[in-house]
């Protein structure tokens, strides 16, 4: 269980938004110095607000973006600088479940053809063998009766069913690493649970390493081994799920947990304490701790960059309060 699948070291992804001949380039520091290791068979929930860099991190791990700095090591191989030509094996080992199923499926392919595409590209099986694989994949995501769904086009099915097709497509090559980018944010509440359970079931069945990207902390409790909290391009806290939820350390994590509405009618009578303001501009982030300008427990020390500290066993936090 403890052998390493993926290691990320001081990963930086900066996007240049302005480049002139004479002027200095201007960067958005979407991901700025993130490190972690990911062991076989585990799953991570990557949680943060929009603009925190969680999607960029996920997509960079899949090497859909090229990192600006740092290293990505997959099964001991450094894939940081691979050019797209020698990435085909990596594409086979990894997959992405997109956020928006309505935009992720080609409208002119039927479901059968959509699921056959990765098999054709990777030269898998004969026509008959492929049919068997596709039907089995459809059964697994409960698109049944299979014969009814196979000839349908994306516009003929519901959002939840589309997301099942996206999941089936992502998993059909049995990848080792799957990044699911807010897979249920576009779906109705009643369907969400179903899709999440499906994803978790598949993760357990095939021992896939799953990175689940979300802004919704309430859905992660049932979901993953680890929770990683991102804020303004940095990883501010990471720990095992139960540990993080029972003993959140970083002030940002606490604010995030506090902001989640729990279904209690008393809520309407209280004004919650919420950090003021908005996340910083990532072109010119604050020099020290990036949460400092909004933090209720800010100190002088916070003007300097906090180190990532392992406070307890396997519980890391980036905050001066714990030095």
């Amino acid at each position: 269980m403890n052998s390493e699948l993926l290691r990320v070291e001081d990963l930086k992804v900066w996007f240049d938004i302005k480049r002139g001949l004479l002027s200095k380039p201007v960067y958005v520091r979407a991901v700025d110095g993130v490190s972690f290791t990911f062991n076989l068979g585990e799953s991570i929930s990557l949680v943060g607000e929009s603009g925190s860099g969680k999607t960029t991190l996920g997509k960079t791990i899949l090497r859909l973006y090229k990192p600006t700095g740092g290293r990505i090591i997959f099964e001991g191989k450094d894939i940081t600088d691979n050019e797209s030509g020698d990435m085909r094996w990596y594409r086979r080992e990894t997959a992405l479940v997109q956020q928006d199923p309505f935009g992720a499926l080609p409208p002119h392919f039927n479901i059968y053809r959509i699921l056959e595409e990765p098999l054709i590209i990777n030269n898998i099986g004969t026509r008959e063998e492929r049919r068997e694989i596709i039907y089995k994949a459809m059964e697994e995501v409960r698109l049944t009766p299979v014969e009814d769904f196979a000839p349908k086009y994306p516009h003929m099915i519901s959002g939840g069913q589309m997301q099942r097709v996206v999941i089936a497509r992502a998993l059909i090559m049995r990848p080792k690493l799957v990044v699911a980018d807010e897979p249920v944010s576009m779906l109705d509440a009643s369907v969400r649970v179903e899709i999440l359970e499906l994803l978790r079931g598949m993760q357990e069945k095939y021992n896939t390493n799953l990175i689940y990207i979300t802004h919704d902390l309430a859905t992660v409790r049932m979901f993953s081994h680890w929770i990683f909290i991102m804020y303004a391009g940095e990883m501010v806290e990471r720990a095992l799920t139960r540990e993080l939820l029972s003993d959140p350390l970083h002030p940002y994590t606490n604010a995030l947990l506090n902001a989640i509405p729990e279904p209690d009618p008393e809520n309407r009578n209280i004004i919650k304490e919420v950090p003021p303001g908005e996340p910083p501009d990532l072109v010119n982030p604050p020099p020290g701790c990036r949460f400092a300008p909004r933090c209720a427990r800010v100190m002088d020390l916070c003007k300097e960059k906090p180190p990532e500290l392992e406070i307890k066993e396997r519980h890391w936090v980036k905050c001066w309060l714990y030095k």
């Binding site: 607000e49 929009s50 519901s158 939840g160 109705d188 509440a189 009643s190 369907v191 969400r192 649970v193 179903e194 359970e197 802004h215 919704d216 902390l217 309430a218 859905t219 409790r221 049932m222 939820l245 604010a255 995030l256 947990l257 506090n258 902001a259 989640i260 509405p261 729990e262 279904p263 209690d264 009618p265 008393e266 809520n267 309407r268 004004i271 919650k272 919420v274 950090p275 003021p276 908005e278």
Partner: protein, 324 residues
Amino acid sequence: MDDKLLLKVKDFSLSYRTRKGDVEAVNRVNFDLKKGETLAVVGESGCGKSSLARGLIRLFPRNVKNVRGEILLNDRDILSLDEETFRKEIRWKEMAMVFQGAMNSLNPVLKVVFQVAEPLIVHYDTDKNLAFERAKEVLGMVGISGAFAERYPFELSGGMKQRVIIAMALITNPKIILLDEPTSALDIITQENIMNLLKMLKKELNLSYIFITHDIALTSELADKMAVMYAGEIVELSPVENFYSNPAHIYTRLLLDSVPTLRGEKKLKSIPGSPPSLIDPPSGCKFHPRCPYVMDICKTEEPPFYKISQDHFSRCYLSEDKKV
């Protein structure tokens, strides 16, 4: 909150004409709203909750077919008013609306203070300078300081744009504000900030809200009573305490079971199937094809409203004598 009845909706129905047939988007909806009270309307997408809100403020799409029922605002039927009177006397003056995703519809080339002041200038012929004064005052109420009032929408963050939208709804001093998913595109901390703002405004101005959302946990931040909609109908109407602790309709119970919570170890469940087509809805109780407790009568006879307790009604045969 005083007990003065402000709005009474009686058998309100709304249907649209489409190429495939007529859609019964809102079907015989009844509810009351008191001054200072908040009604939250929840349901899955397509259940008619946004149609209901737009119907109340009479912003019908072009393909509207039938509008029936009565909407009494201070005992005056505003549904039978002609369009001109409604526009002059009701819309925005008595009842304003915060539209879903409106923060992305701000005019990019106008300063926000102008956009907030516009209803006053257009509808009330207010002097421009006075209108700007008032706009700045309202922007201050929603937490946007003077300097930001002179900015353009692209210079504001999502949360601030949403505050501008709320200011627009407040500027004409309405008594009722319809909130259609007011925080759906916002981050969770920003969402809490907006919820805090709405709570404070409600208290200070004694506003009534009709709060439309699919996020059930979020309703607890604002609602005094709850309406659960399914396939165009209100299936349960209850005080918020009963909604969480003693839900009557099977659909409400299943909906509550699908809400993820941070604390507690409850097992999440999903509701099998999907909502019916409103062009050709099922007979009897519209939820019967998905209901795990379905009985023969549910398939043929439409259930009446059963009174569970004071102000608590459920449209489910199992709510009779509280069988379940």
